[in-house]
């Protein structure tokens, strides 16, 4: 197979959610002289775009979008030794967590994975995260966005505590804050001073991308 054929084969293996094939073709493409940047742009990015379109056309499920994103991440790991000091660019950084008292993290995990697939760097603080941990992470990581999730009405009040703690630490105006989860609403987001509310993972990621790229 020629270099171009191999780049297409990597792309197609992402679309077909076939990790083993994608790995095999990536190694072959590198041997055939493909650069990491070519593989990122022509194989991973194009493959992800096709999968995204299939998801929008209801042909693929969200879970398949996530798997494709993970295959892309695995290919990137293979490329790392070949990058010669160049960094793979990320469009922005997000600190994300499920608030204190709430152990329901599956929704937050979906959002984190979709953000990574959308080329964000994600710092996942996990579940049951107290306000001071959000503040520490914002100081340390200097993210563009803070994302919070809560499933329960009992725990959603913690979101306001996080925003208040960010204000107290003088960090509130340095980040955008987005919230989501079964318990919260757009009105609640407004009432506690969050910048955005994602009714679902797709919308949450769309808002984050819009904040960063302006599109």
């Amino acid at each position: 197979m020629s270099k171009d054929e191999l780049l297409n084969a990597i792309r197609d293996s992402i679309v077909n959610l076939d990790f083993d094939k994608s790995k095999e073709y990536t190694l072959k493409a590198l041997k055939a002289g493909a650069t990491p940047q070519e593989i990122i742009l022509k194989s991973i990015a194009e493959g992800m775009e096709i999968v995204g379109k299939k998801f929008e056309a209801s042909e693929y499920f969200l879970s398949e979008l996530i798997v494709a994103g993970e295959i892309g991440k695995e290919i990137t790991k293979i490329l790392e030794p070949y990058l010669k000091g160049e960094e793979i660019k990320k469009i922005g950084k997000v600190v994300i967590g499920t608030v204190r008292g709430d152990l329901h993290d599956i929704g937050k995990n979906i959002v984190a994975m979709m953000l990574e697939a959308a080329e964000f760097k994600v710092i996942d603080l996990g579940a049951d995260v107290p306000p001071e941990k959000f503040v520490e992470a914002v100081k340390r990581e200097k993210p563009d966005i803070v994302g919070m999730s809560a499933l329960l009405t009992v725990t959603m009040v913690e979101m306001k505590n996080v925003i208040d703690a960010l204000k107290e630490a003088g960090l509130r105006d340095k980040v955008k804050v987005i919230i989501g989860g079964a318990a919260v609403t757009e009105d609640y987001a407004k009432s506690i001073g969050a910048d955005g509310y994602g009714a679902n993972a797709v919308e949450g990621v769309r808002i984050c991308k819009q904040w960063i790229t302006g599109k």
Partner: protein, 457 residues
């Protein structure tokens, strides 16, 4: 450590045929509480409630219980079950739980004496364990057992839980459609945890002369149901959520194999499998769960219920009264209709209408139909161990879906079930070897997953 004297038993045949699996009738009816009979020809409303967060929790439970009992008297309800689901926060202080349970039980007994009500009282203990801690959080486990003991001594008639063993791997796997991960979670890790938990819960229940009710796979099958969402959501395949329900039946059955007697907990939609196999009565929730989440199975789940329940409804004021009393009224009219059908001997007709209204519109409803349940349950009881039955039951569910022309499946769903069948058949060829090898890999990738703790604790 609590005494481990309960004997594990295996069910080797079904208790029902699809023809006689119907609401209100259980082969092993139960009598408890203030004379409540369940599964003996009458369907009973079981109401579940949630206290307002800003109020004192004991005052809230007192007020909710009183309003429910008053409403029962006002509506002429003779048979009733209350369910208190303890929250993580309540679990922090077992002394408060004791006060709260005593308060509720005193009220129940007072109304039972004054008005002749037959009331059962279920307490569901929250699974507060942090599986990332050493030995799967021994302190959390011990507190759960302490609360089970305390509620049993202070008025609970039925003990239940929604346990979460295996959940860390399940969460990782479900959003990736990773069938080997799901099988490893439900058919392997959860199996070890369920056996340990239910040996202890059954021991407490027997010592305190209360009922060991059952364990809902809420953290698994209901999570899958919630993620699958509605017909247009396209998050995960509905057929995946439906096979997770079937695999969850294999997991929830373990409580009964360890000695639970029901009535099974309401949010375990897989309960119909347990009734088909064990003959013990079950509680179910369906359209009445819309207060907390949407589903595509609102009518069909009532087909074989013995208690008919709702999802947690917050104690907020509505035009017709507070949330819980409004829901009790809804449950009352639903059960009244089922009970009149039983009296008139038209209950099979009503059951068939419930089934017909949902069965073919979605795979999640399809696998809850009594005929499908019995076919798959035959496979469950025929397999040699927990892991094999978990895989084999999912394969059978897929075969039945594929064979049913009337079942509505999108192109994506059809693509998924074909892939899933191949994958599950591969796993079934050597399940232990595949799962054990996979778990070594998952351990490095899945947060908090400690396989050794499942095997050794």
């Amino acid at each position: 450590m609590l005494q481990k004297w309960c004997q594990t038993m295996r069910f080797s045949r079904l208790t029902y045929t699809p023809k006689d699996l119907v609401f209100g009738f259980s082969k092993n009816p139960l009598k408890y509480g203030t004379g409540l009979e369940v599964g003996n020809g009458v369907v009973v409303p079981e109401v579940k409630y949630f206290p307002r967060v800003e109020k004192d929790v004991r005052e809230e439970y007192k007020s909710i219980t009183e309003q429910l009992l008053k409403k029962a008297v006002a509506l002429g309800i003779e048979n009733l079950q209350l369910e208190t689901e303890l929250t993580y926060l309540e679990m922090e202080d077992p002394r408060l739980v004791v006060e709260q349970v005593n308060l509720q039980k005193d009220l129940i007994e007072r109304y039972a004496k004054e008005y002749g009500l037959h009331v059962g009282y279920r307490v569901t203990v929250a699974d507060i364990r942090d599986f990332g801690k050493p030995k799967h959080d021994e302190e959390g486990f011990n507190r759960m057992m302490e609360v089970f003991e305390l509620v049993s001594s202070n008025g609970a008639d039925v003990l239940s839980i929604e346990s979460e063993g295996g959940k860390e791997l399940f969460n990782y796997s479900i959003i990736r459609q990773d069938l080997l991960g799901i099988v490893s979670s439900l058919g392997y890790l959860a199996t070890f945890d369920m056996k340990r938990l239910w040996k202890n819960i059954v021991s407490i229940a027997r010592n305190k002369s209360v009922l060991a009710g059952g364990d809902s796979a809420c953290a698994f099958a209901n999570t899958a149901m919630k993620i699958a969402g509605g017909l247009k959501d396209n998050m995960i395949p509905h057929s995946l959520a439906s096979i997770v329900r079937v695999m969850s039946a294999c997991r929830s059955l373990i409580a009964f194999e360890e000695g639970a007697t029901g009535p099974g907990k309401d949010c375990a939609y897989e309960n119909i499998y347990l009734k088909a196999i064990t003959g013990y009565p079950i509680s179910m929730e369906g359209k009445t769960s819309a207060v907390a989440h949407s589903s595509l199975v609102g009518n069909i789940v009532a087909a074989a219920c013995d208690l008919w329940s709702n999802e947690q409804v917050e104690n907020i004021k509505l035009f017709g009264g507070y949330g819980p009393e409004v829901f009790l009224e809804i449950l009352h009219y639903d059960t009244k209709l089922m009970n009149v059908a039983i009296e008139d001997k038209t209950h099979f007709c009503l059951r068939d209408l419930m089934i017909k209204s949902d069965k073919f519109l979605n795979p999640q409803a399809f696998v809850l139909s009594p005929d499908i349940v019995c076919s798959i349950s035959e496979v469950i009881v025929g397999e040699k161990d927990e892991l094999s039955r978990t895989v084999a039951s999912a394969i059978k569910a897929i075969e039945l879906m594929m064979a049913e022309e009337k079942l509505l499946l999108s192109r994506g769903e059809k693509r998924f079930i074909e892939m899933a069948k191949t994958r599950l058949e591969e796993i079934y060829s050597s399940p232990n070897e595949k799962v054990e090898r996979a778990l070594e890999q998952y351990e490095g990738k899945v947060e908090k997953l400690k396989v050794k703790d499942y095997l050794e604790v």
